[in-house]
Symmetry: C2
Subunit: 211 residues, 2 copies
């Protein structure tokens, strides 16, 4: 069964899902949803995803949305296929969940502000809130200092294995490093920088960027 991914191959949350599907060697096709035309707010799409945001997946009769839920679903469904992205024990999975939540609650809000204002606002003719940029960079820096300490003790966030905890950071950190001139936030932290080089050198991520 080919998994249908409704979204845009270049949209950040869709990339989170695609990266997981490629790691797990799951066949998929991207069904484009044109955000510029507002297709994500049309009744047909809202039947799949009532909040009107991409991505959503359809796998046979099964529909699921929220990228961080979709990656957990496929990591679980294909646990024995490809790398185990959830850890081998209940405790390892606990720590994977902990860092998934750190990304969602502590990392994402600040990096989202930076990317939204510095990458997307100019394209949309919206102003940049400079005070918010300063605060967001400071807060993200403090979070990255904790990552630096963590990554000085283990190769990946949840331990010595690549997991969803690392994967979930890829799309927005890619913007930070490549699109808004803030690569130094990663590069100036030795262990974070080595981790970033490692996780972005995975074949799955390279394939996502080529889509």
């Amino acid at each position: 069964m080919v998994v249908k991914v409704y979204g845009q191959a270049m949209a950040s949350a869709s990339r989170r899902v695609l990266s997981c599907l490629i790691e797990k060697n799951v066949e998929f096709e991207v069904i484009p949803v044109d955000l510029m035309k507002g297709e994500h707010k049309q009744p047909e799409f809202l039947k799949l995803q009532p909040f009107g945001v991409v991505p959503a997946i359809q796998d046979g009769d099964f529909i699921l949305y929220e990228s961080r839920a979709i990656i957990r679903y496929y990591a679980e469904k294909y646990r024995e296929q490809g790398p185990d992205l959830l850890g081998k024990t209940i405790e390892e999975r606990g720590v994977v969940e902990q860092w998934l939540e750190v990304e969602s609650q502590n990392y994402h809000p600040h990096i989202y502000n930076l990317v939204k204002h510095l990458l997307f606002h100019p394209k949309m003719g919206l102003p940049i809130d400079e005070k918010l940029m300063e605060e967001s960079e400071e807060k993200l820096g403090k979070v990255l200092d904790i990552y630096e300490d963590r990554l000085s003790k283990s190769k990946y966030l949840a331990g010595d294995f690549y997991s969803l905890a690392d994967l979930t950071h890829l799309p927005f950190t890619h913007y930070l490093v490549n699109d808004i001139g803030k690569a130094y936030m990663i590069k100036d932290r030795k262990h974070v920088s080595a981790w970033w080089d490692d996780i972005t050198s995975r074949s799955s991520w390279k394939q996502v960027l080529e889509l």
Copy 2:
């Protein structure tokens, strides 16, 4: 092994954890962390939780933080003990994860703004951002409209079984209904209101409120 919960029995994220532990009939003790005295920013606590927020748990040698990760861990570890809070199949768990993420990404940011400004700012002598309150209430209302539709089709968020997806909404919605005069946001929506009555009538939640 008695689980040590570092936090405050009355703090919202701690209540999320305690509610899960009680559902699963897991013995615990709360180790108070005095937020007013800044104990959560002291080196001893930062060894448990480097971001300096409560709660964190210690279960033998195993330490875990982030309330939404802790509840997943205990729901998994004690899957066969008490109600299955993750669903019975991989697909059911997928849908539980979807609504856990909806709470985290779509519901929490707006309800957090409302509770922070209307409940905590006055206690701290901080001003209330009225424009933000208006926007947050409007956005939360739109999210609750989608919940209303969902709950007209299934008894609970993830299906016809109580799960972490419901449980995760308890602490902040409790503030909304009981502490900031916005109970109408729940009560005016027939199915949301019935759902709220149902999930707050569980013995586990009543016990949490008595701690």
